[in-house]
Symmetry: C2
Subunit: 349 residues, 2 copies
C-alpha cells in the first residue's frame, strides 16, 4: 500500500468540479491539494467558496493554473472546464508537462481519436514523453452509451446491430444546460438556433460511436451522422430552471448513426427534456444488441448525468495513476468502480 495520500488538483469549480471536490472529501486516502480558478476567486479559500466544511484539513487557496500546477504537485489534475478537445488541449498539455496525470470531463476527450486525430496523437506523445496518462471520461460519453455497450458485446459471438438509447430528465440541471438544449424555446426559435449551429445538444455521439467501432474492430465507412430535433411539448411543463408552454420545446431529441460498409450498424437515440413524466415518458438507459446472442438491457430510471460524471472522474483516479503512460480511453483501462475503501490501497507499486 502506498503511504502518502493521493494528491488531486481540481481545475474549474463549476458544478462538475464542485461535485468532485465534495465527493473527494468523503473518500479516504486522498487529498485535494489545489484548485485552479479565475478572476476574483483567486486568493480565496476553496472551502469557503464552495460552502464546504474544511474541518481540520489544510486550507486550499484557489489560484491561477500557473501558480497551482507546478511540477509533480499532484498525482492527477481533474480538468472540468470544456467540452471540446481543441479547447482543453492546451490545459492537458500544460498539466502533463508538469509530470501530472489528467482526467477531464471534456466530452470529446472521451474518444478524441474520433474528431481530433491529430490532437490525439499529440496528446499521446506528450503523455508518453512525460510518463503520465490522460483520460477523458464521464457518464456519457464514458459509460452508458459506449463502455457499457462494449462490455455487453463481450458475451457475444458476433454483433449485427447496436441500439443505445438514453431517455433522461433535464429538470435537475441549471440554466446553462436549459439554454444549451433549447428548453423553453418556441419551435421556430429552436429551429433557427439549430440551423445556425448555436444549439449544443449532446456532445459525444461521434466519440461513443467511434469507441464502439474501434473496440469491436468495425471500420466506419462514413462520418457519424447526427440529427437534432425539438421535443415539442403537448402540455405545460415547469422545472426549477425552465418553463415550457404547450406547443413549445421541452428539450432536444438527438440521434446518431454509425455506418459500416454503408450499412447502418449503430443507432444512438438520446431524447433530453424537462419533466418527461408529464407526458408519460419513462426515463431510462437502454441497450439492444442484435447478434448472437441478442442482448436487451434496461436501466430504469436512467443513471443520473451529473452524479454519474462526477463519480466516473473520481472513480477512475486509481486506474489512471496505475496506467502505462499515454492517451487512454475507457476501453484501454480496467473498469470504473465505486471507491468505498482507502484510495491508497488501489494504487499499484
Amino acid at each position: 500500500m502506498r503511504k502518502d495520500n493521493v494528491k488531486i488538483i481540481i481545475w474549474g469549480l463549476g458544478s462538475m468540479g464542485k461535485g468532485m471536490a465534495e465527493l473527494l472529501l468523503t473518500k479516504k486516502g486522498v487529498d485535494i491539494v489545489g484548485a485552479v480558478a479565475r478572476g476574483e476567486k483567486i486568493g480565496k479559500s476553496m472551502y469557503e467558496h464552495l460552502g464546504m466544511e474544511k474541518g481540520n484539513r489544510k486550507d486550499v487557496i484557489m489560484g491561477s493554473y500557473e501558480d497551482i500546477i507546478t511540477e509533480k504537485a499532484a498525482d492527477v489534475v481533474l480538468i472540468c472546464t470544456d467540452s471540446f478537445t481543441k479547447d482543453v488541449f492546451d490545459k492537458c498539455k500544460f498539466v502533463m508537462e508538469k509530470k501530472i496525470n489528467v482526467i477531464t470531463t471534456a466530452e470529446e476527450m472521451a474518444y478524441p481519436q474520433a474528431q481530433e486525430p491529430e490532437l490525439s496523437k499529440k496528446l499521446d506523445k506528450i503523455a508518453k514523453e512525460n510518463g503520465v496518462t490522460v483520460l477523458g471520461t464521464g457518464i456519457n460519453p464514458g459509460l452508458i452509451m459506449d463502455l457499457l455497450v462494449i462490455t455487453l458485446t463481450g458475451a457475444c459471438y458476433d454483433v449485427e446491430h447496436i441500439e443505445a438509447k438514453r431517455v433522461n430528465n433535464l429538470s435537475p440541471f441549471g440554466p446553462a444546460v436549459m439554454h444549451e438544449q433549447g428548453v423553453g424555446l418556441t419551435v421556430k426559435d429552436f429551429n433557427e438556433k439549430n440551423e445556425s449551429g448555436k444549439l449544443a445538444g449532446h456532445v459525444g455521439f461521434a466519440e461513443s460511436v467511434n469507441m464502439i467501432t474501434d473496440a469491436l474492430g468495425w471500420k466506419l465507412s462514413d462520418k457519424v451522422k447526427l440529427s437534432k430535433s425539438p421535443i415539442v411539448s403537448n402540455v405545460y411543463r415547469k422545472a426549477p430552471n425552465a418553463e415550457v408552454q404547450a406547443g413549445d420545446v421541452a428539450g432536444v431529441n438527438m440521434l446518431g448513426y454509425g455506418y459500416v460498409d454503408g450499412e447502418l450498424k449503430i443507432e444512438m437515440i438520446h431524447p433530453q427534456q424537462v419533466e418527461p413524466q408529464l407526458e408519460g415518458v419513462e426515463t431510462g438507459d437502454y441497450i439492444k444488441i442484435k447478434g448472437n446472442p441478442d442482448i436487451s438491457m434496461a436501466i430504469n430510471p436512467e443513471v443520473p448525468g451529473g452524479i454519474g460524471t462526477i463519480a466516473m472522474c473520481v472513480n477512475m483516479i486509481p486506474q489512471v495513476i496505475n496506467s502505462r503512460p499515454g492517451l487512454k480511453t475507457m476501453i484501454d483501462l480496467p473498469v470504473p468502480r465505486a471507491i468505498m475503501g482507502d484510495m491508497r490501497d488501489l494504487i499499484e507499486d
Copy 2:
C-alpha cells in the same frame, strides 16, 4: 499490426472447448494450432472429431498435453477442463512454464484469491517468472454477477447494498448439467444429495462476491455464505435432457451472501431450472445497487450461459496477450468486447 496470426491451443473438447473452436474458426487473424485430448481421441483430427469443416486449413491432430504444449507453441492455451482452482492448477502451471498465456473456464479461477489464496500467489509467481498471464473468465463468474455489477458502481458516489440476480433456463444444457443441478430428482433425493455435498449447483458465488468487495475496497467480515434449495415444480416439465414430474425438482435455487463488518452488503440470487416459463417465471439478469445513486438494471432474457462463456474466453484473448504478466482477473484488464475485425489489430506491439 502484428503480422502472423494469433495462435491458440484448446485443452479439453467438451461443449465449451468445442464451442471455442467453432467460434475461433469464424474469426480473422487467429488460428487453432493445437488441441489437447485424452484416450482414443489422440491422433485423430480435431475437425473430424468435432464434425467441423476443415476447409483449406492445416489439420489439427489431437494429442496429449505433453506433445501439444511445447515452449511458445501458441500465444494462449484455452483450458476448458475443470471448475476448481486446485484441479486446474497443475495444467495452468504446465502451460505457463512453456511461456504461454492461459485463459480458463474454471469458475473458481475467475477470482482464485477468494478460496485459494496460496495457489493464487503461486500462479501469480509462476506467471511473472515466465512473462505470461493467466485469467479465469466466463459469463458467470466473469461478467453478469460481478464485472457488470462493479462497472455500474463506477457511476456511484457510494454503495450501500448490492443485489445480483440471475434467473436462467437450464433447458438447453446437457445431461451432465441436469445431474449437477439435481434436475428431475425427488425433493427427498435432492436434499440427501445436497446434504452429502454431491450437488454441484452454481460454482462462483465466493468468487463473484470477493471480486466485488476487493474492487470496491470493502473487507468481508465473514466467509461468503451459500445456500442451495430445490425449486419444486408445480407442473410437469420436459426439456431435451430432463423430465420433471409435478412435485419433483426442476432446478436449484442458489443464494449467496457477503457481509462487511457483520452487515449484509451483497446478495446473490441464482435460481436455475428447466422450462421456467411453464410457471410464469421470466428469465433475466438483474442488478440492484442501493447507493448514491440507486441503479436498477435488467437484461431480459438472461444472457445465455453457454454462448456467453465461450464468447468471453475467446473475446479476452487480446487483453490477455497485451497484459502485463501475472495472475489477472476481470477487474484488472480492459473490458471484453466482441471481436468483429482481425484479431491481430488488437494485439499491442
